[in-house]
Amino acid sequence: MIKGILGKKLGMTQVYDDSGRVVPVTVIEAGPCVVTQVKTLENDGYTAAQIGLVEKKAPKKQSKAEQGHLKKNNIAPMRHLKEFRIDAGDGINVGDQVLVNSFEVDEKIHVTATSQGKGFQGVIKRHGFGGGRMTHGSHFKRAPGSIGQCATPSRVFPGKKMPGHMGARKVTVKNLKIVQVIEDQNLLLVKGAVPGSKGSLVAIRKG
């Protein structure tokens, strides 16, 4: 059994649990996925399975390398491919399907996706700096303040928190609980928020 699946974040809603409490859930359309490549210890030095989210991709948009990679195993072109580590004797073959039914309710999962891009942001939004006061003739409103000392060391230390690009990076949220699995629609309802905007690709890994 592959310990992961690819999907698309659809958005959020809420459901009630057994005690009548509201549970915020993210709806993820996961799969169907197909195993596109199996990496073995002999060939690649480690064991893993590459799976692809079954979704059409125009042949025009693919590189020759992509086409050749999938053609080898007679698999239709796919837009998203990702590798998941497997154990050596798992008996996974190319062409195997990965569906949401490999997940169970109450199971813990890790979700990886690209977070929403925030653009170039200052230190208050990006690093949570306090900033100065806004009124009473303040000249220190949202500036970062001092970024170091004087002649010694006469440089700014690497890693100093400064303004810059925020968001749009790979983020993993760990230990999210599966609330519901809807097999006929390939849906997973996951408790809590998941990185990324609606319609963005998410990789789900069993925790």
Binding site: L10, Q14, G20, V22, V27, I182
Partner: protein, 119 residues
């Protein structure tokens, strides 16, 4: 978007809730769990507004408690902890959100009853 909408519709399927409008006086039967016992508590008041969002619909009920203190509760319409909702009186109001009721005290805090002469 469509998928979530249909999912939300499915969640409220078969859940009976009365046709309730702002200005109505309602009696909400709430299930309260104390230890391992369950009992029903009644919250009666005027509906100040309804936020309609399929399964996430909530409504705001205001009652004037003893001592003249206003108590407002925002309740999820489809919450399983609501046993039932009774509409006691229909109110005639001209607004969707009746926040002005908070400023009214005593006799001014009344709402006219809706009359339907055609029936």
């Amino acid at each position: 978007m469509k998928v979530i909408e249909s999912l939300e519709k499915k969640l409220i399927e078969g859940k009976e809730r009365p046709d309730m409008r702002p200005g109505d006086t309602v009696k909400v039967h709430l299930k309260i769990i104390e230890g391992n016992k369950e009992r029903i508590q009644i919250f009666q008041g005027i509906v100040l507004g309804i936020s309609r969002k399929l399964n996430r619909t909530t409504f705001r009920v205001r009652k004037v408690s003893t001592g003249g203190y206003g108590v407002e509760r925002i309740l999820p319409l489809y919450s399983p902890s609501i046993d039932k909702i009774e509409v006691i009186r229909r109110g005639r109001v001209r607004r969707a959100k009746l926040y002005y009721m908070r400023e009214k005290i005593g006799k001014a805090a009344r709402i006219k009853e809706k009359r339907n002469f055609n029936k």
